[in-house]
């Protein structure tokens, strides 16, 4: 059956009222957490993992994907009105968007962000639907060594390619890899680093680590700040875009989409990277260079389209290869595993209905989001008036709820505090958070593939570069590791550090 009819079937099952409800909850929550500073989609999915334990797998996964899409929409609101990005993929939106808000053009800025997100989400989800089966065919030809090489590539791009220091990125990654060693070894059953503590046998819970690093670390860092953040800019005037706004936006939306989708779908960084590259492209191509830095609408339209397209793109390696390339994708992978599903080529064979319902739901979720975000924007802005003490008190209460719900032991809560402090320290000294989470989840998978590859080759390490595919992938990894280091050495590091993404 071809992708089109599979997608139509998926749409039919996605029209089920329960599935629609899950999608609606997902996009609503996603928009809310995107709007609120301090919590992003990665954290929210992590918090919801334990809660969805007993719920319908398809519905829960659709909800998670809805949160991811919604977070990309909501993040722009905070960027534009507060100049504090709600999540990392909206950092560049703040540059032009906040300038527009200062000039009383906040309305059109919000509108171009929302419509751009819709256009990008629509095109990118369709691309996902038609590309995924091709990648699956390709994926079936890959063996353990190719998978291992792919994971190495993901490790490098997540930790060392972007950001202001390869050293700190790699340090974060290795901390994650070290934490991943805790627990029972998947191949021999040997207990590693458990020190006789039964709670450590299962390894370190993804939920605990992600919640601690994102929620508790962030709360501590924000609380300890001595200077309060900027005030909010009221939206004055109409949200309607003028004819000129439309004319200047639509090309930027399309360019953003076609920059964002490939970036997201290759293991080459997440939505934050895509939004930055789109901004750079708009800045180069604009007919109004004098407006850049002072509120150019292309600078909002492009990056916002790019981050949504990248979010959809990330689902390609996640669903077809089981390879997460962002923190949110990594936690969604944990969500699949919680329901006994292993993303990868086999998922499209064994759970075809679930996959296609998920993809079709994304199209519906995208439609819901544009409705939620354009007419109801006033409601979301009101969320920003929640006083910070109540907001963070609530975040911490929910953060511990997730851990207590899975395993109400002092060991688990102790780890939560310990990793929370680690997250605070990492924020203080500019260590990125996402590589730790990706390392924890991808680490054991990479180890298994490595040992399987070596077992097939009877312990011969050269097997890792013995096929063109694996050798090429490892070669690209080396380039992604070394070239940025040289760029930083030669003082051209600012470009990379601006792309530094923290969370999602």
């Amino acid at each position: 059956m071809d992708s089109f009819s599979l997608l139509m079937q998926g749409l039919a099952s996605a029209m089920d009222p329960m599935i629609l409800l899950y999608a609606l909850i997902g996009v609503t929550l996603g928009t809310a957490v995107g709007v609120l500073p301090g919590i992003g989609p990665a954290l929210t999915v992590a918090l919801l993992l334990p809660v969805t334990y007993g719920l319908d797998p398809a519905g829960s996964l659709i909800m998670f994907a809805g949160i991811y899409y919604g977070g990309m929409y909501g993040g722009s609101t905070t960027s534009i009105l507060l100049n504090t990005p709600g999540e990392s993929a909206s950092i560049v939106t703040a540059i032009e968007g906040n300038q527009m808000a200062r000039q009383g053009r906040g309305g059109p800025a919000l509108a171009t962000a929302a419509i751009g997100s819709f256009v990008a989400g629509l095109i990118a989800t369709l691309l996902l639907a038609f590309l995924a089966p091709q990648v699956v065919k390709l994926a079936l030809t890959l063996g353990p060594r190719e998978y291992f090489a792919l994971m190495v590539l993901a490790f490098v791009t997540v930790s060392a390619t972007f950001g202001d220091s390869a050293l700190r990125g790699l340090t974060s990654l290795f901390i994650g890899l070290a934490l991943a060693c805790v627990g029972i070894d998947g191949l021999t059953g040997a207990a590693r680093l458990t020190y006789g503590v039964p709670q450590l046998m299962d390894g370190i819970e993804t939920t605990t680590l992600a919640v601690a690093l994102f929620a508790i670390g962030e709360a501590l860092a924000v609380a300890a700040m001595l200077t309060p953040p900027d005030g909010m800019h009221r939206v004055t005037g109409s949200v309607r875009m003028t004819a000129t706004d439309w004319r200047r936006s639509w090309k930027a939306w399309l360019r953003g989409t076609f920059i964002g989708f490939p970036i997201g779908s290759m293991p080459a960084g997440g939505a934050d990277v895509a939004s930055f590259l789109s901004y750079a492209a708009e800045r180069k191509l604009t007919k109004h260079p004098e407006e850049f830095g002072k509120g150019a609408i292309e600078g909002v339209a492009g990056p916002e389209a790019a981050n949504n397209a990248a979010a959809a793109g990330t689902l390609v390696p996640l669903l077809t290869l089981g390879l997460p390339t962002t923190a949110t994708a990594a936690i969604m992978l944990a969500g699949f595993q919680q329901f006994g599903l292993q993303p990868g080529p086999l998922l499209f064979v064994m759970n075809a209905e679930l996959v296609w319902t998920l993809i079709a739901s994304l199209l519906i979720a995208n439609l819901m989001l544009v409705v939620l975000n354009l007419p109801l924007i006033g409601l979301w802005i009101r969320l920003l008036s929640i006083p910070r003490p109540w907001l963070y008190g609530g975040i911490l209460l929910f953060a511990t709820l997730g851990t207590i719900g899975v395993n109400p032991s002092p060991v688990e809560l102790g780890m939560l505090i310990l990793f929370g402090l680690m997250g605070y320290g990492m924020r203080l000294y500019g260590y990125p958070i996402a590589p730790v989470v990706v390392g924890l989840i991808l680490g054991p998978m990479a180890e298994q593939q490595l040992r399987r590859a070596l077992a097939i080759a009877q312990g011969d390490w050269t097997t890792l570069v013995a096929t063109p595919v694996s050798a090429t992938l490892l070669g690209i990894s080396a380039v992604f590791l070394i070239v940025p280091m040289l760029m930083r050495l030669r003082g051209r590091g600012q470009v990379l550090s601006q792309v530094a993404g923290d969370a999602d």
Binding site: T171, L220, L226, L397, T400, E447, I456, G459, A500, D502
Partner: protein
């Protein structure tokens, strides 16, 4: 969110502490790997080998961190206010200790209250009272409706199972 702070060109104590922490983690991995039975099978790579590789990586990173710290290459954080951090940590530790004694609602209310206090909300009792209400709502929804098993204390038993 972490932003790029201007690095200061003099040796940074923090870098040495981070380097020591990384080296310590590496030593833990190496000691544990040494105690594992080495059955690599056909692969020739047993359960202890990958932790060992990661440990070597951590040692290299520790040395590089110390070196870059010596050159002053570490972002210098802005001044931090210690009191809010202590309030929040106090709330978390309190919850850890009290969870199984007083139940989810009361320990959660204390955590909420102390966090809010850390963010400047006064008086403390008012914040705890808000936390109590929120705790009840969460307990009702998640324990009673969604069947998540949250530890119950005297208060929960009195109201929900009385």
């Amino acid at each position: 969110m972490s932003q790029g702070f201007s690095p200061e060109r003099r040796p940074r104590g923090a870098a040495f502490i981070i380097a020591a922490g990384l080296a310590g983690l590496a030593v833990l991995l190496l000691l544990d790997a040494a105690g594992l039975k080495q059955d690599g099978g056909y692969a020739g790579v047993g359960p202890g080998d990958v932790p060992r590789i990661i440990a070597y990586g951590l040692l290299v990173l520790a040395v590089l961190t110390a070196l870059s710290g010596w050159k002053g290459n570490l972002p210098k954080p802005p001044r931090q206010a210690p009191a809010p951090v202590l309030w929040i940590l106090g709330g978390l530790v309190g919850q850890l200790v009290l969870l199984h004694v007083v139940g989810f609602v009361i320990s959660g209310a204390l955590l909420f209250g102390m966090t809010a206090r850390g963010f400047g909300q006064r008086p403390l009792w008012k914040a705890v009272a808000v936390g109590l209400v929120l705790g009840f709502v969460i307990y009702g929804v998640f324990d009673q409706l969604l069947k998540l098993n949250l530890p119950a204390g005297p208060l929960e038993r009195l109201i929900f199972r009385g």
